[in-house]
Assembly symmetry: C2
Homo-oligomer: 392 residues x 2
């Protein structure tokens, strides 16, 4: 299979590329280093700095004998992307080429505009590159569980049958997100669904929860092949932040009440999910939507798990509640379905204390590089007067 | 009230501007003549050619003594729009600045891209110009009934309470449109709803059906103040096409079975609706959605009405069914609510035979300018194999 990975420099893009190459697929990674450059400009570099793609490809080849080709360019440039797709003729495109940060998208107009235009244009260009050159290609698009927000009813997998006044209709599950970044993913879904219906595209849209983990079969070959690890207030995730805080001996910062529930998954399971999706493409004209997470935790539960893992490692860790910089419900119903990927054969790697302790050991090796000034939230969502409105 | 009208050269933009000016509001119209230029480039000019804005403003001033200011520029240029909003300080912005053609958006990648980027960027820029300079400004955004598509359940006004497994949640009514153009309006709605929630914008989103008519209180002052009138396959609407076909003595072309139902309204009612919306702004942080049409007709019913009006005028008109170039259901349930604007005080001008006969008289005055080669559909929606899929 020829697999084109857009956003191949990212936390998930690079491990995905190695995994496909290791199974003898022909892999090409594409990136313009936008996230990497923004993080550097904003003094929010990762704890573990990954070499650039050409170097990582060389390191991976020396260790595994597998070749990954690299195209440096911008997926918002339609000519670049169209030419690449025409030449590479992918069977599968994995589209990670989006700015991934909710806080970044909420800094101000310039950051909002960059997130909006980058994410929407890249998706639009991928759609048309496929329609023009490889119409049977399977597009695997990374959405986010954040598209659904926190509705007061069960979250189904992408679709919902609505009964209304004695009649019924199946719809895309209504989406209502908590940041502009997450909203760009809603717009992506609307756009994909239109082109699936109108032109018979075949698309898998994966509604992914926050991913954690540094270990994959291929990343473990050499520390220079590790996924990047951001822990700052803009590009970091809550699991990374807690692990760094535990390693640095400072309190775990919980935003608000900490009862916000999200669906998490291990990076090994992201790779499993992408591989399973690629192996079972949907029909032409089908938009298959799968919810991609393995476990639901509240932020408080997550903090307790990190505390417990730290205890195993001999570290005593406290917890601190901060005013919530985000617009989100801190107490809400949450029951999300995730059976689709299990039915495809996904075998979850759960967030055990051993897994967290192993991540913590890795972070401790980089303890001297931790800059605690990067951690506290500095981006506050738009409307600051009064409490966040109930999104219902 | 200071009213900024984006897309002021359009079929609705210009009559809206005159109506507000005539009620002594301070009005500024903005346009970059994109639709006008595209129509000319594609040899799809209007039957009735409107002077450019500077000339129309002079004609209107001479007749009414009211001044309308003009800003020629592109709303996708954030600096231009931001500067304009900062200087004009509008209380109300009416946002018509979108490419309005479903067929145009379905021609190919270049036309799809222009529609996508023009419409999304203009909406994004309007949002941020308001947030930065006039946060209390009321944004009146033109959506379309086409956002809803043709679901098998009643179409409510913007929102729906979904009961699911014993719980319930109010959502944006799920949208599923039949063209890329209509899909850009869905994306607009998603984006507006996010910024309303996050930053407290005040927005009225009007889900408008196809508009017909050439007569408004101000347009009737002088034929050079008439709204433009496109009848071709790309920029024309079904009512205009039928009237021109009746005037030219050629059959009315019905796409497919002709049982497609849509909600129509007279241009006088568009102006009433905009004025009523402007007079009753929603609260900060409220997205008010109103369905803007007065009557439901099938395409066959519309053809019969035009036939009857033609008969009154002494013309015999036949009907011809064409293979449907669009992706749409030709037989479907349709029950759309439109009580919101009636409750605000809108008094419908219905599509009587007299109204159609009057339009037909106007068209007959331009009979010698009709180019029948412009009428037959030349844009066919993406997937042509087999019948259109059931969008359910």
């Amino acid at each position: 299979m020829r697999v084109l990975i857009l956003g191949g420099d990212g936390y998930l893009g690079w491990p995905t590329a190695m995994a496909f190459a290791n199974r003898n697929h022909e892999v090409c990674v594409v990136d313009n280093y936008l996230r990497r450059n923004l993080a550097r400009q904003m003094d929010r570099g990762p704890l573990i700095d990954a070499p650039k793609l050409d170097d990582r490809v060389d390191i991976f080849k020396a260790l595994s004998s597998h070749t990954i080709s690299v195209a440096i360019g911008d997926c918002t440039d339609s000519t670049f992307l169209s030419d690449l797709v025409r030449r590479f003729e992918p069977d599968t495109i994995v589209h990670y080429a989006e700015l991934p940060s909710a806080p970044y998208s909420m800094i101000g107009p310039a950051e909002a505009r960059l997130t909006f235009e980058n994410n929407l244009k890249s998706t639009f260009n991928v759609i048309w590159a496929i329609l023009e050159h490889v119409p049977a290609c399977h597009l695997i698009k990374l959405g986010t569980m954040g598209e659904y927000g926190t509705p007061n009813i069960d979250i189904e997998e992408g679709w919902i049958d609505v009964a209304h006044k004695g009649r019924s209709q199946r719809f895309l599950y209504p989406r209502e997100a908590g940041s502009l970044y997450h909203t760009t993913k809603i717009l992506d879904t609307d756009l994909l669904w239109f082109y699936v219906r109108a032109y018979g595209l075949r698309v898998t849209d994966l509604m992914q929860g926050p991913v954690y983990g540094l270990s994959t079969a291929e990343a473990d070959l050499d520390s220079r092949l590790s996924p990047n690890f951001h822990y700052d207030d803009v590009f970091g995730t809550v699991v990374n932040r807690f692990l760094v805080q535990a390693a640095a001996g400072i309190p775990l910062t919980v935003y608000g009440a900490g009862n916000q529930i999200r669906g998490f998954l291990n990076i090994k399971d992201t790779i499993q999910c992408i591989e399973l999706a690629a192996a079972t493409p949907p029909a032409a004209g089908e938009l298959r939507i799968l919810n991609q997470f393995t476990e639901l935790f509240s932020v408080n539960q997550l903090a307790a798990k990190v505390q417990q893992a730290a205890r195993l490692t001999g570290l005593a860790v406290t917890m601190q509640h901060l005013p919530n910089p985000r617009l989100e419900l801190e107490q809400h119903y949450y029951n999300a379905k995730n059976t689709g990927l299990i039915e495809l054969g996904m075998e979850p790697n759960l967030m055990t204390e051993a897994v967290l302790a192993e991540m913590l050991q890795t972070v401790l090796r980089y303890r001297n590089c931790i800059d605690t000034a990067k951690i506290m939230p500095r981006v506050r969502w738009g409307r600051r007067q009064g409490p966040p409105p109930d999104v219902a």
